[in-house]
């Protein structure tokens, strides 16, 4: 069985200050089934190579955005990437079926705590709701959207020793995406993937991950 290849598009404009995303990127980079792309590193002047990026998309089965949550959205280069790479005739519209059937997921860190991201909280919307533009983009381009894998209160995660579990979960999710052992229906019901990883990712993967 051919297992899924993951394209990880990482966007962080200040990597030396990164507590969460950078270690996640480093951890993913060592996996042979992940193609880890540092967008700010590759395109420091925002001159995104459209052909190269489209070719990358064609060669992978799963697309993951990894980023810190900036103003309820992605850092600028990921928006630039979408604007440029998801062309008419490639990602949507007449003949635009290059992404059909692929999986799409966001992995992000947010500064606020989870209680803030709900109708009663000061952010008024859940994370899932705020990411709706990306969810709809995935739908329009024919991709299967997987709810985000997120870490809240990311600024204090390192001090509070929440980071290593998060990275273990992250590797588990990547493994799940790779093997395809993700219960999409169960996942779709969640606000964020790590609310109930146990029921989303099968025991087999869990066992394999433990053995690695």
């Amino acid at each position: 069985m051919n297992k899924n290849k993951i394209l990880l598009l990482y966007a962080h404009p200040s990597q030396r200050r990164s507590d969460v995303n950078q270690p996640m990127f480093e951890a993913a980079r060592s996996l042979d089934y992940v193609t880890a792309v540092d967008l700010y590193g590759e395109y420091p002047r925002f001159k995104i190579d459209i052909d190269k990026e489209q070719q990358r998309l064609r060669e992978h089965d799963v697309v993951v955005f990894l980023f810190p949550f900036y103003w309820y959205s992605t850092p600028a280069i990921l928006k630039e990437w979408q604007d440029l790479v998801l062309e008419y005739g490639f990602a949507y519209g007449a003949g635009g079926d290059a992404l059909h059937g692929k999986w799409f997921m966001c992995a992000l860190s947010a500064g606020g705590n989870e209680q803030a991201y709900r109708a009663q909280g000061y952010n008024h919307f859940t994370l899932r709701e705020l990411l709706q533009p990306l969810e709809q983009t995935a739908r329009l381009t024919g991709m299967c959207y997987i709810p985000p894998f997120a870490l809240f209160q990311s600024r204090t995660a390192k001090d509070e020793n929440r980071l290593s579990t998060h990275i273990q979960d992250w590797l588990l999710v990547l493994k799940g995406l790779h093997t395809g052992a993700i219960d999409i229906d169960a996942a779709m019901a969640l606000n964020k993937l790590n609310d109930n990883l146990d029921c989303v990712i099968g025991d087999v993967v869990r066992e394999e991950q433990r053995n690695d």
């Binding site: 270690p23 001159k47 995104i48 604007d83 440029l84 519209g93 007449a94 329009l140």
Partner: protein
Amino acid sequence: MTEYFLQAFIYLAAAVIAVPLAKRLGLGSVLGYLIAGVIIGPITHLVGEETTTIQHFAEFGVVMMLFLVGLELEPKKLWQMRSRLLGMGGLQVGLSAALLAAIALFFSQPWKAALAIGLIFSLSSTAIVLQTFEEKGLTKTEGGKNAFSVLLMQDIAVIPMLAFIPVLAAPDIAASSVSLKETAAHHNVSLVAGLPAWGYALVIVASVGALVLAGHYLSRPLFRYVASSGLREIFVATALLLVVGIAALMNLVELSPALGTFLAGVVLANSEFRHELESNLAPFKGLLLGLFFITVGAGINMQIFVEQYQLIIGLTVLVMVVKGLVLMGLALMFNIKGADRWLFALSLAQAGEFGFVLLSFSIQNHVFTSEFASVMQMVVALSMFLTPLLFIVFDRVVVPRFRRARQQRDKDTMHDDIHETGEVIIAGIGRFGQIVNRLLTANGMKTVVLDHETAQIDNMRKIDIQSYYGDTTRPELLDTAGIEHAAMVVVAIDNRESINTLVKHIKHAHPTVKVLTRAFDKGHSYELRLLGADYIVAETYHSALELGAKALEMLNIHPFDVEQKRHAFCQIEKEATEELYETWKHGSEGQRFDQNYRKLFIELEGKIKKAMLEDRLDQHNSSERGWTPPPKGYDEDLKNNER
């Protein structure tokens, strides 16, 4: 005359044969020289009595070495070293001298002789240790730096010792050797003979003062004058003149020439001519030191050794163990850790060349009998002989042990490691190099700037940019500027041939060092690419593009459009350059810009023009492709798809 040639031939041949062999066997050059000396001296008797004369001459190598050491040390750094210098160095000399003197007393030497022995053996060999450090790249390690402070303190301590030893004269030896005294007072020219103590002190202060002032104020105009002549050998002559002159002055006032030149070196450490001086003197220093080591080897008296080998070996081991223990203690006290502690203790455990000087001085002053002194001399020589072996112990036993320990530690803290970036050498500090240098230094990068225009260097120094005079195409200058530890060289000189020579040399001699270079034009950039430069930029390309873009803006094209067009221009140019380069490379010398190349170039122009035009026809094109709106009415299709 024939005799001189023969002797010179023997010494050189011994060195040429023995040193590379010793290095190949991992013994280091010092041991190679020593072995060469033993072979031509006591074993084959190819050389004889004259070794002592040659040795006095060769000691000048030590003098030169200290001058070069001084050049590396700015006064500020010397001042920062003061606690290590006085504390650690002082304690080393004091403790070793006291302990060794006590042991001598225990072996029922008279107290005066015991004290002299203690002083003589407390010193270590600056020549061997620094030379070996340099060879093995240990100079900048913690152990190396501390060992250097101790050696420096010892060199300084030689002066009071020379003053003190006459006090230790034993009356009975003095009485039995009146004749010796006459030869001892020999034909040394001295300015200070017969001066009262205060007068002598005055002369010393005056000459050291003169040295510092002259070094500071006179050297620069002198060097600039010589440099402007453009004759390399005259610069070499000036450098030699300087060192010889200082040594002569110091001898005249009966100070240590080594210390005098060291001081002069420190004074000149800030000078822009530092690297040029270093590269000019280094070969002389190396050869003289080599000669010195050969004479040490040749001077070994086999007869005495055979007769008393048990005593000599016993004493040598005793001296080295005692000194090693004292050094170990100091290393603990001054918190030198790990492999550095061992390096510190093992490297300084021998007696040194100043031991020979003090021994002959002691004979002259009737502290010892000459028979006794020759046994002591053997001990000094043997301990020097054993030092390279201790370095081998360090390399083979100590380093691997600590490396394993460190690797383990590194593994544990993998995410915290900080990349150590080496220095950047910038060759040429004209209009181009200055901008590169400003960007790098503003970001905290360490740069070493070299230029062959003294005026340019002057200007740089006025605005506090560390820069040095020298012909950058000379390999030695790059060596002294530290290319060994450099991460990259930025070639920013403006002479096409010199750029090529420099790039070729660096890529040949230091293939791991990155070379970023400026090219005169396209053809030149191909040449540089062929020579292996890592990054090449035509010196006018980017500024011309910038200006061209501004021109388009002023012709009312939207700035963002201009930016896209500029980028597209660069992209096409870059791709086409590959093709042009291949054509150029396969063309024969002198015909590289042939018909074929010209055709390709015209094609390139066409391509660029087409790319720019496409935009106007509102098609997909490389300059604005990403923002091309979808066709009108596309939303109807999307709606249908949804159903």
